[in-house]
């Protein structure tokens, strides 16, 4: 099998078909009449217009997965890992899906830029490419990092920082629990059958922090091609934006301290814990600041990340 075809096949099978993006694609393709197009636009509305129902949120997830697939396709194009030009059976539907007015609007509501870059690329308006010896392994590393977020625990945590709630738990429950060592201990050390959404979100938070450290280490590598660095950061940028929106700075710092630390009497362990906490905090701060999302010539000395917008309220239940 041709390796470039193999890479494309892998993306299609696991990121388009397995995760449900194909269902969203079919739904978008069906939305041609004014009535069905209106229905799709309503499904993909901003949550401030009207709260998102349970059924709607599952369908919107499928759209998210479709956009993730196109984002990864864009990065694979940048790294020359898929056949170029893309065959008509890949390129034509991509333009059709991503240029649908409802999808365009959705990408404005919830800023996602890589699919839009793919459309520009397919139209010949963006030609950014990276000639890099370790392109395959960089891409695989990105996929491995992505897969770490795709589990029950992380999904619950990410749902909470997307404004969602499950049962009686939401991001506030997580933050509240993390404020007390005792509450955290009891919530996490449970038997399999006693696991709650709170337990999952707490485990998810810990996984997310490790993910941040590893993503930061990847992106901070000075040898990384700048375009890949920008695109890789943008692929995950939504979550860092949400983290800033939903978790107060002080709460986040305290939560990191809680998860990374464990109280030990010996000085070595205490020193190690302090450096671990410092490392995680620095990674989260760098990723949330958006500095990896800018090309080096766009960075100015002493430039600070934009002030955090006011916290939004978003009733989402699942």
């Amino acid at each position: 099998m041709d390796v470039l075809q193999g890479n494309l096949q892998y993306l299609k099978v696991h990121y388009l078909l397995a995760r449900g993006g194909a269902k969203a694609a079919a739904r978008i393709e069906e939305a041609v009449s004014p009535q069905s197009s209106r229905a799709l636009r309503w499904l993909l509305r901003h949550h401030d217009e009207e709260g998102i129902t349970d059924t709607e949120s599952w369908k919107r997830d499928e759209v998210d997965y479709l956009l993730e697939y196109y984002s990864l396709l864009e990065i694979a194009c940048t790294l020359n890992l898929v056949p170029w030009p893309l065959s008509k059976d890949v390129a034509d539907p991509a333009i059709k899906h991503l240029e649908h007015p409802a999808v365009q609007k959705y990408m404005q509501h919830y800023p996602i830029s890589l699919p839009q870059l793919l459309v520009l690329r397919l139209k010949g308006l963006f030609i950014g490419r990276v000639a890099c010896d370790d392109a395959p392994t960089l891409f695989w590393q990105l996929l491995e990092l992505d897969s770490r977020l795709y589990n029950d625990n992380c999904e619950t945590f990410l749902w909470f920082i997307d404004g969602g709630s499950r049962g009686r738990y939401d991001i506030d429950s997580v933050i509240r629990t993390l404020k007390s060592s005792k509450a955290y201990f009891h919530a996490v050390s449970v038997r399999a059958r006693e696991i709650t959404h709170l337990t999952k979100a707490l485990h998810g938070f810990r996984i997310f922090l490790q993910f941040c450290v590893d993503l930061d280490a990847l992106l901070a590598d000075p040898a990384l091609p700048p375009l890949f660095r920008v695109e890789a950061w943008k692929y995950f940028a939504y979550w860092f934006r949400n983290l800033s929106l939903y978790v107060e700075e002080n709460d986040l710092q305290r939560a990191i301290g809680q998860v990374a630390a464990w109280k030990q009497s010996d000085a070595d362990a205490a020193r190690h814990t302090a450096s671990e906490v410092k490392r995680i905090r620095a990674s989260v701060e760098r990723l949330s600041s958006g500095e990896f999302g800018r090309f080096p010539n766009q960075l100015r000395d002493g430039e600070r990340p934009p002030k955090q917008p006011a916290r939004r309220t978003r009733p989402k239940i699942r």
Binding site: Y10, R19, D134, A135, D214, A260
Partner: protein
């Protein structure tokens, strides 16, 4: 760099495996088994970046086994690993086709001459138990002799529960809570040593079975390389049955002993030494 591997395995599936199949396989597989609360690939990071880039690995299949290490006991995970190793050795072509999603491709038979089974921490117990299953199945699993076992910070002599618990991100802030945690998380009972430093019954049985199997010629159960970090506070270091004498790496902790980086290439060199 020429791309010599194809990534495979379902990234959305918490159990199973991730693989980097060699496009021109030459009869070697490297199978990684993570430890307590570890991740298929994350535990071994940056092996997944270094190995595919190395020309010596161009024809090697790289397989990262994933299992539930917190709520499932080692014997169950070992049976899953045994199944994966069996399929890998007897039916690679189908496995490749299934995981790449390209069923139309004609299978290309590959017979492994060498399978490096590399395990970290609890993964060493899972791997050894999987090999013991092979031993019990010895009339069928003739390919077992191709296996070379390499261990990083193995937990086969037990682990200190308080430190093991720290891998979960739990704060064992009061000693009296530990029995409570042990009871809730079965893996801790299986791996943890008691106040007198004694291993669990399960680990004792495994050692007895390993000794017996080795006496009867199951040499694949003998670890060819065992490495501990001097700063590892989680597992109990020591010699085990007929395994090679262990090596120690100064300053390395439990979690980073098996992670190659640009300034710590020992784990990579160990693996390369067996290729």
């Amino acid at each position: 760099m020429v791309q010599n591997h194809l990534i495979a395995g379902n990234p959305s599936e918490p159990k199973g495996f991730r693989a980097y199949w060699a496009t021109r396989p030459k009869g070697t597989a490297i199978v990684f088994v993570h430890g307590f609360n570890g991740e298929a690939v994350g535990t071994w990071s940056l092996f997944e970046r270094f190995l595919p880039q190395d020309p010596r690995c161009a024809g090697c299949d790289l397989v990262f086994f994933q299992y539930d290490s917190v709520y499932t006991n080692c014997a169950i995970s070992a049976s899953e690993l045994h199944t994966l190793l069996t399929r890998l050795s007897t039916d690679r072509a189908t496995l490749v086709d299934e995981t790449l999603g390209s069923s139309g491709r004609p299978p290309r038979p590959v017979k492994y001459k060498r399978v490096l089974l590399i395990a970290h921490s609890m993964g060493a117990v899972v791997a050894r138990k999987a090999l013991l299953r092979m031993y019990r199945n010895r009339n069928k699993d003739l390919w077992a002799k191709t296996i070379i076992l390499l261990l990083f910070a193995p937990a086969h002599l037990g682990a200190h529960v308080t430190h093991l618990v720290s891998l979960l991100g739990i704060i064992p802030y009061v000693g009296q809570m530990l029995p409570f945690v042990r009871y809730k998380i079965p893996a801790l009972t299986e791996l943890g040593i008691n106040e007198r430093g004694q291993m669990s019954r399960s680990l004792e049985d495994m050692r007895t079975d390993t000794k017996e199997a080795l006496e009867r010629g199951a040499f694949y159960l003998r670890a060819r390389k065992v490495i501990f970090g001097t700063a590892d506070k989680v597992v109990v270091p020591g010699e085990y049955c007929d395994d090679e004498n262990f090596d120690s790496v100064a300053g390395r902790e439990h979690k980073d002993i098996c992670k190659p980086t640009t300034d710590y290439l020992d784990p990579l060199n160990v693996v390369m030494g067996f290729l």
